[in-house]
Amino acid sequence: MATHQVSREVVITVDDLKKAFGQNEVLKGITTSIHRGEVVCVIGPSGSGKSTFLRCLNLLEQPTSGKVVVDGVEVTDPDCDIDKVRADMGMVFQQFNLFPHLSVLDNCTIAQVTVRKSNKAEAEKRARSNLERVGLLDKEAAFPGQLSGGQQQRVAIARALSMEPKLMLFDEPTSALDPELVGDVLSVMRKLASEGMTMFVVTHEMAFARDVADRVIFMDGGYIVEEGHPDEVIGNPQHQRTRAFLDRVLNPTSVGQIGGEDEAYAERHQSEPEADGDGDISTLSPGQPGQIGRST
């Protein structure tokens, strides 16, 4: 049950957004909008373009065509100052992507100091108040490598919040976590939602989507297949594809139900190249530094 206020003010408008990687058209025309204070959850099978959609919103991927407007600024305009837009738009990654060479506190201050030009004391004050929000004030001196995955992801949220963003993007924030650590991250996100943060969340956590989202978007094959109130999309899906997906997610152990339209779905996804995982390029592992340099 979403308990917060959603205003009529539009924060993000997406108009006929398309994105292709070479010949592979991943987004085939997405049109939607997000309102101030709204929590939108995006669900859908792996490889359906959820991450690409999210990353097109802050131009980590350059859309092939279409229009994205954030807070009145058209980010798809080549002359747009994208750094300025990004500073107001927090992003949380599946792999956390904390800066491993900086302490937890410095992770939360570096962008404030370099981008916002805040002075150090101010930046640290803001960082601490956000670390407190995610329950990790006592870890400010630790380095990311010393934290559990769940703690790292909460620091990543605090890092994004320290920029005082107008909205937050989450790309499967709990998918890389051990099951027992998922709850802590989700409860931080619930709290954020109840405080009125505008949130755009790609997730496989159906309970979270059902309880927190004001709107659920189901994506498949590069299209928005269905969107609406979670009670509608999750509770009473209208499309066969949505039903098949939810069935797989909510009853992962049951087999033998594949048939009919579901087979067509399976075939379509077989023909996709690189259907491994969700194709998230942020998960690339570093090379082996042992081989660098000439030997003595």
Partner: protein
């Protein structure tokens, strides 16, 4: 019954453990024999007078060894700093989206890596003659720093580029998503991590430079500018004795061995951290 293993006439086969043990004994035996032969056949007094002559040791230590030692270090460090700055620039150029920068950097790197370093030194020795009136600042240090640094930069550029590429892409994305421009993300996020990854190979590069600084002997230097090799060689030549070179060699080991140990320690620690 025709099973081979049951044949009582064949010799009993040794277990693998026993065989390995015998092999080890055989190896110790060979080593021992060779050592005894070498010791009994060598002319020890001659060896000592050629490599470790007392008065030569004294002369080498007192005539100006500290100065030569200092020069080796100064030549090496200057070249390392110059090479590191130039190498970082070249690495960033190689990764630039501007084509001509990439081509220039690639050409430079291939050129200086394909060339014997001694050719560069010969060229630098001739430069002031070829260009009338050319003065390289801080002579002779400036000349050595530039000559050695130009070559070192080519190798370091490749190391640094590999280090930059070893930083996960998500790091840049996280930095950019916070609003950092490319330059800030590179300076504050990518380079610090890249340099941490490449500290061991860069230290190896430093070791190579220590050794390459001996190429200075090609340049016409005053005695004040002599480094270890040239210093040792000068005394060795006038006395037809190898003792000064042995001492010079020992001084190199004094610098390079601790550095190698540091590298090995760092590599072990990085391995553990992955």
């Amino acid at each position: 019954m025709s099973t081979v293993t049951a044949d009582p006439s064949s010799k009993p086969r040794l277990s693998p453990r026993k065989r390995a043990q015998r092999m080890r004994w055989a190896q110790y035996a060979v080593l021992g024999i060779v050592t005894i032969l070498a010791i009994s056949m060598a002319n020890w007094s001659q060896i000592q007078s050629v490599f470790f002559r007392g008065d030569m040791i004294h002369e080498t230590l007192t005539q100006g060894l500290p100065n030569a030692f200092k020069n080796t270090i100064v030549y090496t460090l200057g070249a390392f700093v110059f090479g590191l700055v130039l190498g970082t620039m070249l690495a960033l150029m190689r990764l630039s989206s501007v084509g001509p920068y990439r081509w220039i950097a690639t050409t430079y790197i291939e050129f200086f890596r394909g060339l014997p370093a001694i050719v560069v030194f010969i060229a630098f020795g001739l430069l002031p003659l070829a260009f009338n009136g050319l003065v390289i600042p801080f002579d002779p240090y400036g000349t050595v720093w530039i000559a050695l640094g130009l070559v070192g930069a080519a190798y370091m550029a490749e190391t640094i580029r590999a280090g930059i590429q070893a930083v996960p892409k998500g790091q840049v994305e996280a930095a950019r998503s916070l609003g950092m421009p490319t330059g800030t993300a590179t300076r504050k996020i990518v380079l610090p991590q890249a340099f941490r990854i490449i500290t061991p190979p860069l230290t190896n590069e430093l070791i190579l430079l220590v050794k390459d600084s001996s190429l200075v002997y090609i340049l016409g230097l005053s005695a004040q500018g002599f480094e270890l090799t040239k210093y040792g060689r000068a005394i060795a030549n006038t006395n037809a004795n190898l003792t000064p070179l042995v001492i010079a060699g020992f001084c190199y080991l004094l610098i390079t061995l601790p550095l190698s140990m540091v590298v090995r320690r760092m590599e072990a620690r990085q391995k553990k951290e992955r």
